[in-house]
Symmetry: C2
Subunit: 303 residues, 2 copies
């Protein structure tokens, strides 16, 4: 009934868990928190003979030159990718397509390109068509982050034990898919391979909808006495934690995944209305059923 | 514009932060996690010369006799309260009124009675009228708990740095109010004094509504692929954490605070609908305003 996401270890014999794969030249374009953490983790784990980065701002390029986890800082994105083995597009999600189109003619034949964007459908289709047939685009979305932004806050452990989606288009080159899955796995993350559209449906539910809910709970309570937030237990604190996330990042996500988020949000509103109706009707057996069903689902989280 | 909850240190000169008040005989009826923790904290902090308890079940009374934090186990609730200085009604919220009525004729004149129930309006009115004029009922609600239940899981530190509401009726005896506020403060909690109805309005918003939201998010996602919950970041984990709470406890709360919860829930649904409309209309400035307003509110939590 449910399409099962394909876990990394089903990708086959190309992946040998006992050896790591070392890239000749890992290129990271426009590193922020995620891109910087890719570089630091790859450096710490010895995943590349050479790490090349390019940043849009000249002062960032200057500072990146001093980082021990960078071997070469390129002056242009085109220069950066010229002899790349694997390119990571680490720009904000609404700038990735543009960056892929910009570097396409400069990539060596057969190069593999991945990214860190949190919405995948449109992005993967556009990047795939920009790079094909010269190179391979295999999208990725590491479910890792922090309230902090910028490569200055990058850490080599950011991806450890975190889910990373790898989202190849239908018919993508199998070796390229395996290389990208292997790369994210070697960075410490738990890779799940699925289609870009399946990714967007899942994240609309498990990530984007919770953000709408937490934000709306926060904006609603903001209309009440501001002292109330300090008269609560840990429940409110946890339920609204992600309301403190960066607004700009979330605008980009909502713009790119609007349709899936709206679908999930409307269904959630129906669910909330059912709870309201059972409470209004004093239908306590139904309220209990809902509480118990929610508890059973939450208890099923892995530790 | 907002009625300001009265903090403990505004109660006046009766409260001396440098000395603690020692009760002659602290009586705890029907201890569970909260009542047991009251006893253990009072014992650890030397707040009573004697700690008397009574439990409904004979086997619990037998086991309580062996606890180092209990001085006397009474065979009946009436016996337990006969020479009480302060009585804590620690039964589940829907059993407290019945217990207050039961002990009323056995209380010494001028005794003070408090409780731990999480809904206060109806409960305080009923308990106040059951005990007046012989004794004083001053309701309380410590915002502390755990997934675990029962006095076997009680800890002496459960109330430390947690909010505790003290909810006197209009015109309550000031010394009794001060004694109860002082008691909860001496247990380590941060006391806020307000009316029972104000309490119920606030907790409907900061505690009961978040429970409805977390439960509904969980029951909604339970209708989707069960594997999805393990493909999420920490956001979903935090947003739904309280969905794992005990269903029986929550049924009692929703029964007792139904009207306030419905009012808060309907307003929250309107807020969610506004978010949905701005997303559907691609009104990105409005979506940004909401994200930023939610962030500002959440950033205002005390650390």
């Amino acid at each position: 009934m449910f399409p099962s996401p394909k876990p990394i270890n089903s990708t086959g014999p190309l992946l040998d868990v006992f050896t790591k794969s070392v890239l000749e030249n890992l290129v990271i374009l426009a590193p922020g928190l995620l891109g910087g953490s890719v570089a630091r983790a790859a450096h710490a784990r010895g995943l590349a003979h050479r790490i090349t980065v390019w940043a849009r701002r000249p002062d960032a390029r200057l500072k990146l030159r001093e980082q021990p986890w960078v071997n070469h800082v390129a002056e242009t994105a085109a220069d950066a990718v010229r002899d790349a083995s694997l390119v990571v597009l680490a720009a904000p999600v609404d700038k990735i397509i543009e960056l892929a189109r910009h570097i396409a003619p400069h990539l060596p034949a057969g190069a593999i390109v991945t990214d860190v964007g949190s919405v995948k459908g449109e992005l993967c289709r556009a990047c795939h068509s920009a790079l094909t047939p010269r190179a391979h685009f295999i999208g990725a979305h590491p479910m890792a982050g922090s309230e902090k932004t910028g490569w200055e806050n990058a850490t080599p452990t950011l991806f450890e034990k975190r889910v990373c989606f790898v989202t190849p288009m239908e018919g993508a080159d199998e070796t390229a898919v395996a290389t990208v899955a292997r790369f994210w796995s070697d960075l410490g993350s738990e890779v799940t391979t699925l289609s870009p559209d399946q990714h967007d449906e899942i994240t609309a539910h498990v990530s984007h909808l919770p953000q709408v809910v937490a934000t709306s709970l926060a904006t609603f309570l903001a209309t009440k006495n501001p002292q109330w937030r300090n008269l609560s237990g840990n429940g409110l604190r946890d339920t609204t934690r992600i309301a403190a996330s960066d607004a700009t990042m979330w605008i980009e996500i909502f713009q790119q995944n609007r349709d899936e988020v709206l679908r999930a949000l409307r269904q959630f509103q129906d669910e909330l209305q059912c709870f309201q109706t059972s409470l209004a009707n004093r239908d306590w057996p139904e309220v209990r059923t809902r509480l118990e069903r929610g508890k059973a689902w939450r208890d099923g989280f892995r530790p």
